[in-house]
């Protein structure tokens, strides 16, 4: 009896031992390398704020790349990290787009989310103009991403009177604010920074089809001077950091979903003889569109093509009623975008090199993934909606896209500073939500 009991115990113990004996790998020693992550701040624009689907809302903020990086930094001595979250009651923030379905021909349809917003007021402030104000955020702050900000604007004291996303981070109310973005982000000591500024200096020119007088490309010399200033200020008290280049906006779905071919195909369903579309270029000239001209994503939902004007000429199909300039980035404007982007990126890389900073090459990264790349079994690409990389606005990223960016930052930081920040699991983050 006794020996039987012992025998059974040995068998039971053996089974438990086998069951618990999971293979393990060599432990990675956590190391911060030559950097100090105890207070990390994120400097940047909408991409840094977690903007997605044409708006800033809580889920996007929670899935911003700085939130992901900061969470991973905790493994190597990173400190607390705060983003200016909207409250749960106002979780939809500025509002955003959601996918509602597909038309019979497969064209996606979207609708704006307009409930549970954090909109405080909409006022006109002379001389700045109209501004939408959001519920103020007053807590700790590490993520300083301000949607819409250009590098050109970081030293402007009155900028918050122009941008409600910046205004909500500041204690004062518009129009009494006189705090520049650069002085605000550097007011409190920090040990590490990421800086992804400069996108809007060319992006806003491109998305407006080159047609907005207030959104012309920032002068290259001005850009270089301001970038030097920004990085000198950020590194003035010894902080280390990582900077990012400007993505190739021409490879985003915003400029590649609506094409000459797709427009012609749609027109030819009812008018098979049509074989040319007419555009108004940035110079005001009217000519037939070519494959080298880009059309912006909003043209698809504008439903203008073919609509007759007062004289009876159908929109886009006749030289006397061309597709207007704001919907077209013609090939000359596209060349300007490419030229300025290259120049800005050369500046960013050379300033980073002179300060010994890590560089996350977003231009190369998003082109690599945008052209189609398998990531843990997911083929991500720049395809609109199903590419899993870009959100519904065609410019900003999905949570999965931001996770890919976060990992590129982490790898750049680890390479430059010899740290061992672990990467995030990209597959834990979603693509575009389908109904």
């Amino acid at each position: 009896m006794q020996s039987n009991y012992i025998f059974r115990s040995i068998i039971a113990l053996g089974i438990i031992t086998m069951a618990s004996c999971k293979p393990e790998f060599k432990t990675i020693t956590p190391s911060k390398g030559t950097a100090d992550f105890s207070r990390y701040i994120a400097v940047g624009n909408s991409l840094t704020a977690g903007y997605a689907d044409g708006g800033l809302y809580l889920e996007g903020q929670q899935n911003s790349y700085p939130e992901m990086i900061a969470a991973q930094m905790k493994a190597v001595g990173g400190g607390a990290f705060s983003s200016p979250f909207f409250t749960a009651a106002q979780a939809n923030g500025s509002g955003y787009l959601k996918l509602t379905g597909f038309t019979a021909s497969g064209t996606p349809t979207t609708a704006a989310v307009t409930t549970d917003l954090a909109v405080r007021d909409q006022i006109t402030i002379p001389p700045y103009g109209n501004i939408t104000l959001y519920t103020k955020y007053t807590g700790d702050l590490n993520n300083y991403g301000v949607p819409g900000i250009k590098l050109l604007q970081i030293t402007s004291g009155g900028y918050a009177n122009l941008n409600g996303y910046f205004e909500r981070l500041l204690p004062d109310n518009s129009p009494a604010i006189n705090t520049s973005y650069l002085s605000f982000v550097t007011a409190k000591p920090f040990t590490f920074f990421s800086c992804w500024l400069g996108n809007n200096d060319i992006l806003l020119y491109a998305t407006a089809g080159g047609a907005s007088p207030t959104d012309q490309p920032t002068d290259k010399g001005t850009f270089a001077a301001l970038y030097n200033l920004a990085i000198s200020t950020l590194t003035a008290s010894g902080a280390k950091g990582v900077v990012a280049t400007i993505p190739d906006v021409l490879s985003t779905p915003y400029f590649n979903t609506v094409t000459l071919a797709s427009l012609l195909k749609a027109v030819q369903v009812s008018a098979p003889t049509v074989n040319a579309l007419y555009i108004q270029t940035g110079s005001g000239a009217v000519r037939a569109a070519t494959a080298a001209d880009y059309f912006v994503l909003p043209l698809a939902s504008a439903n203008l093509i073919g609509t007759p004007n007062g004289a009876g000429y159908p929109y886009g199909l006749h030289p006397l009623n061309p597709i207007t300039s704001q919907y077209v980035l013609d090939k000359d404007e596209a060349a300007i975008v490419a030229d300025y982007t290259d120049s800005y990126n050369a500046t960013i890389k050379s300033v980073a090199a002179s300060k010994g900073l890590a560089v996350m090459d977003a231009y190369a990264l998003l082109n690599e993934y945008g052209s189609g790349k398998a990531v843990n079994g997911v083929t991500v690409s720049a395809a609109y909606i199903t590419g899993n990389l870009f959100s519904l606005d065609g410019i900003h990223l999905t949570p999965m896209g931001y996770a890919i960016v976060a990992n590129a930052y982490i790898k750049a930081i680890n390479t430059q500073y010899g740290s061992s920040i672990p990467i995030v699991d990209v597959t834990k983050y979603r693509g575009v939500k389908f109904p």
Partner: protein, 404 residues
């Protein structure tokens, strides 16, 4: 447009198996000897190991046994600090054999039921490789009626017809986000019914060495009308397929076995298996509609691979036999093609076994097999999944036999 947009989603591999999922658990005595058994006439399991040796068995008998597999796989994505483990599911391959006819006759009959291929790999539903696979449940049962004929007192031949019945159930996540933020999922499930054969020659040489040469044929497992169940967003679900066909080569295996008999009580068997995995070029799925997704072809490009097995049995007392074995299996999977449903690599096999004659007719055999699959750091060419795999398996087993 939708079709084009979706066309990449399922271009990724789905199903597979490997040396590791060639299940070599076909007899408790042989498992205790690291799976060697082709070069000797040990017991009724010769129906599987060498039909030519069946006619050399001194008694008729029937036996049945099982071998629950405790398999532990781990994965760590390169750059991550998180190690993920497979879930604890315990597949139970079984084996049953019977040998009839008069031991005095030259012609003997056998019947075998066994599970030569299978896989049970369950990762957590939200693991980092979920878009490649979350679970694979692959089972095949072979039924093999067998004839064995002793041509002379020292040469036997035998052959069996194999009827293979298979079942596959594969699950994975699909990179389309549902409205609740979760991933879509796909499940492919189907049955196969196919035929093959198993044949062998058994020789007793004058120098006392016994030799076995066998070949088990390839079986092409065809899923003719499998169920494809896609849990995808409502806006897309009408366009997704509901049925699929697929074909999976269960490779042929040639074996040379050498038996040594240093004393009346001791048997040593050395087997070399050569598995024709090179048949496994692609894994293809064809769907009943391609409105949402194209048919998929995933390259596998396996190569033929050998396994070496050395086992010893010692009849320690009249009632008690002790066994031990060691083996080495070369992986058929090339670098860049390792997939998480079969995280294969070269492996070491260590085994021990014990046999006990309760009565002259009634025997119990037990075995324990330990498989240590080498660490392998892989970046899969097709899925991009990059990280380190490590697998160990603990396989206890037991069988009962009755002889007459």
């Amino acid at each position: 447009m939708k079709k084009i947009l979706l066309s990449f989603l399922l271009a990724v591999p789905i199903l597979g198996y490997s040396q590791s999922f060639q299940v070599n658990l076909q007899g408790q005595k042989q498992i205790g000897m690291a799976g060697a058994g082709t070069g000797v006439a040990l017991d009724e399991a010769a129906v599987f190991f060498n039909p030519g040796a069946v006619s050399f068995l001194k008694q008729n008998g029937v036996q049945g046994g099982i071998s629950p597999i405790l398999m532990r796989s781990s994965f760590r994505e390169n750059g991550s600090n998180i190690t993920e483990h497979n879930e604890n599911k315990v597949p139970t391959p079984f084996q049953g054999y019977a040998v009839f006819g008069s031991p005095a006759d030259r012609l003997r009959f056998g019947m075998g039921v066994y599970t030569p291929f299978g896989g049970d790999m369950y990762w957590k539903p939200d693991w980092t490789g979920k878009y490649t696979v979350t679970s694979l449940d692959l089972r095949s049962i072979y039924f093999q009626p067998t004839l064995s004929y002793k041509i002379t007192d020292h040469i036997g031949i035998g052959a069996g017809l194999v009827y293979s019945q298979g079942h596959v159930d594969l699950k994975r996540a699909v990179p389309l986000t549902l409205n609740n933020g979760q991933s879509s999922t796909a499940e492919l499930e189907g049955d196969t019914h196919d035929f093959g054969w198993n044949a062998g020659i058994y020789l007793e040489t004058e120098v006392g060495i016994t030799i076995g040469i066998t070949h088990r044929s390839e079986v092409n497992a065809n899923v003719k009308s499998g169920d494809a169940t896609f849990n995808v967003p409502a806006a897309l679900s009408a366009t997704f397929p509901t049925k699929f066909t697929a074909s999976l080569p269960l490779p042929g295996t040639s074996t040379l076995g050498l038996g040594f008999h240093p004393s009346d009580k001791t048997i040593i068997d050395f087997d070399v298996n050569w598995v024709q995995w090179s048949k496994y070029k692609n894994l293809a799925f064809n769907y009943n509609t391609n409105a949402a997704i194209p048919n998929s072809v995933s390259p596998r490009n396996y190569h033929d691979a050998a396994t070496l097995r050395l086992g010893i049995q010692n009849q320690t007392t009249a009632k008690l036999a002790l066994r031990a074995g060691v083996g080495y299996a070369f992986s058929p999977v090339n670098d860049g093609y390792v997939t998480p449903e079969v995280p294969d690599a070269n492996r070491v096999l260590l085994s021990a076994g014990i046999g006990y004659k309760v009565t002259n007719r009634f025997n119990i055999d037990a075995s324990f097999l330990y498989e240590n699959v080498k660490k392998r750091n892989e970046t899969n060419i097709e899925s991009g999944l990059s990280g380190e795999f490590k697998t160990v398996a603990y396989i206890p087993g037991i069988s009962l036999s009755y002889k007459w």
